[in-house]
């Protein structure tokens, strides 16, 4: 492998990996707080990307405003999902919520296609988006750097909030024991809705940036990328935020290597094969807690 190819593999891994990690972190926060395994992340990512598209193309707003609008809108939508639907399923079996999120993803996809149609739409370009920067010999475009920066900043903000703010402490408390949290006068329903909103916001951010990196948006491909959150969190550990970070980078690395040697068709299946291997060898993932293995 030439150094040029290696360089672009590395940059690709970092970009994809940080976006995967972002979605993964949102997933883990939701899972730890509410126990919900959300199969609808991908659909939310797609919806977010389309919102940016519409904002930019039809409303002609600057790109960064479109981003914020989309992230906030999807975040609110996530909260509404809890209030309207998942709040009633508190205490239900895990598999009921799994099926509910699966159904939700189907309906979201249907709505997306109804509004925007099924064809591939090009995403607006970042000014100077194609210029190549070289950092330590590794080539990055401006879009790449935006992707990595956005993910790192968002994850850092989330970590900070979880560690330092009362809301973050309350979220971690609910994740430990919602019953005890209620006894300590924590508004458990509010925290759950917040966890849904944050998780949706992460998915939205990742979806927007991903569509910029890819250059286009269509109903299927980003959604498929969204499902890759599962290899990420299984490898990392379904209840570990740090695990999501490492898992994201690992899955992106596997995908890039596979793409180079075997071609695009095998990228997804091998990521899932890695998931299966992890389930066989160490069900709780690299950083997950022991309790998780018995779900």
């Amino acid at each position: 492998m030439s150094s040029g190819v290696l360089g672009s593999l590395i940059s690709n891994t970092l970009v994809l990996g940080s976006l995967y990690a972002l979605v993964g972190v949102g997933f883990v926060i939701l899972f730890r707080s509410t126990g919900v395994v959300n199969f609808a992340q991908g659909a939310l990512m797609v919806l977010a990307a389309y919102l940016v598209y519409t904002c930019a193309e039809s409303l002609h707003l600057p790109l960064w405003i479109c981003f914020i609008v989309s992230m906030v809108a999807i975040g609110v939508l996530g909260g509404l999902f809890y209030v309207g639907m998942f709040r009633r399923m508190v205490g239900a079996d895990l598999f009921v919520t799994v099926i509910a999120t699966l159904g939700l993803s189907v309906v979201l996809q249907m709505v997306t296609i109804m509004i925007w149609g099924a064809q591939v739409r090009p995403m607006p370009e970042l000014p100077s988006g194609k210029t190549l920067f070289s950092i330590v010999g590794i080539p990055f475009t401006a879009v790449d750097l935006v992707a990595i920066l956005l993910s790192v900043v968002l994850i850092a903000i989330l970590e900070l909030c979880l560690r330092k703010t009362i809301l973050g402490i309350a979220t971690r408390a609910v994740a430990d024991s919602s019953h005890l949290a209620a006894l300590m006068k924590v508004r458990v329903h509010g925290i759950s809705a917040l966890a849904w909103a944050v998780s949706a916001l992460c998915a939205a951010a990742a979806g927007c940036v991903l569509s910029l990196v890819v250059g286009s948006v269509d109903p299927v491909s980003i959604g498929q990328l969204g499902l890759l959150v599962f290899p990420v969190v299984i490898i990392g550990g379904v209840d570990s935020v740090n695990g999501a970070l490492i898992g994201g980078i690992l899955v992106a690395a596997i995908q890039n290597v596979v793409q180079y040697y075997l071609g695009g068709n095998w990228v997804d299946p091998l990521a899932y094969a890695a998931l299966l291997v992890m389930l066989l060898v160490r069900p709780r993932g690299l950083f997950g807690s022991r309790a998780v293995a018995r779900i």
Binding site: A173, S177, F230, L279
Partner: protein, 611 residues
């Protein structure tokens, strides 16, 4: 022996006809009528859809097997159908007869099922779902590769099926498919009604308990997965012979999800339900399209609907699935069964089992002198409290307890006497706990019986639980921040319990039992309770530590005059601090007195019984 006879003589009946037995014939009647109509009166298009319904029903029955009976979530329907379809297509290229090709499809499905079921053995729900998700993606790619490498870029074409010299198509094919469905149904019914069905149901309810009962859980889970996969692969082979084409684009994740919808909508764990669900999900888009076309164009939504109908059709099953999950999670079969139950109750007089409470003879509570003296109105007044858990276990039957202002009241008794249940009944239950509480619990004059913990904590009732008293991943400091404690309050707590200052940045999960109890108490005091409930303070603690903690409880009361209700197994620690004492036994109060008047012998007798 006399009592035993009396129990059965209470004529505890099961109910005239178990409700499920009413739902099954109803479901079958509908299906048989529909099938007859289809064969005799349906158009060619209707018959085509009917054939699809039958094939999908076979697949749904397979999914219901693994999901509804054995309780494992699987989104592998599309993948297994693909396996069956491709094996069949390949077999026909080798000129293998129809029935043999279908058998090969089953075998292939069983093998893949075994391979994918093995890693999922140790794990449960979530991981089997993910395992089958992985299978889905892997299968799609393998199928695509298979097609391109054999030059079948547009998929495989499949010749018409035949039995001997008879070629099956049109109506004869439909009849053959119906025969297959009937045979499958008979075999499944045989399995479900006998030992295998019981084993799978036990595994679905509680795997560990099933293992303890003697069921080889792994063997049964694997057998369920392998055989249900074989059945789903059979339906894939049937689909190949029906559509005469096998193309990788058919077996997508969305396709797999339609089967999940079928099984949920039909109702898990019901054969007729799976078939009804398959029917509903398959024909819904067509029915909706027809209906939309017939709408007068003047209706407001009509044009929007007809423009978007194809998108809606694609996502319709998702909408139906969500609606059922929210409003009728037991599916059509469940709705029929519930309706049948109501009809049955209406038809025949049904003697309900006599409530357990009325069967027991209650000894009247024994009052020692002193406690009857009139005093200030109680802060907490519990009257005739009764608590029945969802299982029917009677936790409390008529409990009366008073807590007066500034008092420390101890509730003693051995395990199972109902002490913890009493505290929980006072502090409140979540709806998910599903208990039945009756009687009266008044706090500061207001009725709180049956309230939720959120409400009672807002009124100032603070409960320190026996287990789960602190958050393992939060540090001591973070606990205080969580309850919005002032720095002064935290400092005061650290004065009383110096270890809290030393361990201020340590996660609570790393504290010792005594330190956790100190933290829990300190938090409770900081929340400025109007009534403090403490459950088993001394549990698991060395006697000296327990004594220190109970003493600190008394100091707290002396400082703040907050009344305390203390549940304890450790009699001496409790008697050290309590003003009054209740002793509970088998869900009721059997003794109450001032603490000074409780003799060692009384407690011994009540704990160890009449000797």
């Amino acid at each position: 022996m006399r009592e035993r006879a009396a129990l059965t003589r209470q004529k505890i009946l099961a109910g005239p006809v178990p409700a499920k037995r009413l739902a099954e014939p109803a479901g079958w009647a509908v299906l048989v009528l529909a099938a007859l109509w289809l064969m005799l009166l349906g158009s060619v298009f209707d018959q085509y859809i009917g054939g699809l319904v039958i094939i999908y029903a076979v697949s749904a029955l397979g999914l219901d097997w693994i999901q509804g009976r054995a309780g494992q979530v699987s989104i592998g329907s599309a993948a297994f159908m693909a396996v069956g379809a491709y094996v069949t297509a390949t077999a026909t290229e080798w000129h293998v007869p129809t029935l043999v090709a279908l058998l090969m499809a089953c075998a292939a499905g069983a093998i893949v099922g075994l391979v994918f079921g093995l890693p999922a053995l140790r794990l449960r729900h979530l991981y089997l779902a993910l395992s089958t998700l992985a299978l889905q993606f892997i299968t799609q790619t393998v199928a695509l590769q298979y097609e391109t490498s054999t030059g079948n870029f547009a998929g495989f074409s499949v010749p018409e099926p035949n039995i001997g010299s008879l070629t099956l198509s049109g109506r004869s094919l439909l009849v053959a498919l119906t025969v297959v469905l009937v045979l499958v149904t008979i075999c499944l019914r045989n399995l479900y009604r006998r030992a295998p069905g019981r084993a799978w149901q036990a595994i679905r309810e509680n795997q560990m308990a099933a293992a303890v009962i003697g069921i080889d859980v792994n063997r049964w889970k694997l057998s369920a997965f392998a055989t249900s996969s074989a059945l789903i692969s059979l339906s894939g082979g049937l689909l190949a012979y029906y559509t005469l084409r096998v193309f990788d684009d058919t077996f997508t994740l969305t396709f797999a999800l339609t089967f999940v919808a079928m099984v949920i909508v039909g109702g898990l764990g019901s054969i007729s339900g799976a078939i009804l669900g398959a029917t509903l999900i398959t024909i819904a888009p067509y029915v909706l399209s027809d209906w939309t076309n017939d709408l007068p164009s003047t209706m407001p939504l009509a044009s929007w609907l007809s423009n978007n109908i194809s998108y809606i059709d694609n996502g319709l099953y998702g909408i139906i699935l969500l609606l059922f999950l929210l409003y009728q999670p037991r599916g059509i079969a469940g709705a029929l069964a519930a309706a049948g139950q109501r009809i049955a109750t209406w038809i025949g007089p049904r003697e309900r089992p006599v409530p357990a409470a009325s069967l027991s003879a209650a000894p009247a509570p024994v009052h020692a002198n002193g406690s009857q003296a009139p005093g200030p109105a109680p802060v907490l007044a519990v009257r005739d409290l009764q608590l029945v858990y969802r299982t029917g276990a009677l936790a409390l039957s008529s409990v009366d307890i008073d807590v007066r202002p500034g008092e420390i009241v101890a509730v003693l008794g051995r395990n199972g006497a109902g002490k913890t249940s009493t505290l929980r009944a006072i502090s409140g239950f979540f709806r998910a706990d599903r208990v039945r509480v009756s009687g009266s619990v008044t706090f500061e004059g207001r009725q709180i019986v049956g309230a939720s913990p959120t409400l009672t904590s807002r009124r100032g009732i603070v409960l320190v639980q026996e287990r789960d008293k602190v958050f393992p991943s939060l540090t001591v400091n973070e606990h205080f921040r969580l309850i919005r404690s002032s720095a002064a309050a935290q400092a005061q707590a650290e004065e009383i319990f110096p270890p809290l200052r030393e361990r201020a940045s340590s996660p609570a999960g790393l504290l010792s039992g005594g330190e956790r109890q100190m933290l829990a108490l300190a938090l409770a005091w900081t929340m400025q309770p109007r009534l403090l409930l403490v459950d088993e303070l001394s549990l698991g603690l060395a006697p000296a530590v327990a004594k220190r903690l109970t003493a600190s409880l008394r100091d707290f009361r002396d400082r703040t005059n907050v009344p305390i209700l203390l549940v304890e197994q450790n009699v001496s620690a409790a008697l050290d601090v309590a003003d009054r004492v209740y002793i509970m036994e088998a869900g009721r109060v059997v003794f109450t007195s001032d603490a000074d008047n409780v003799s060692r012998d009384t407690v011994l007798n009540l704990s160890f019984g009449q000797r």
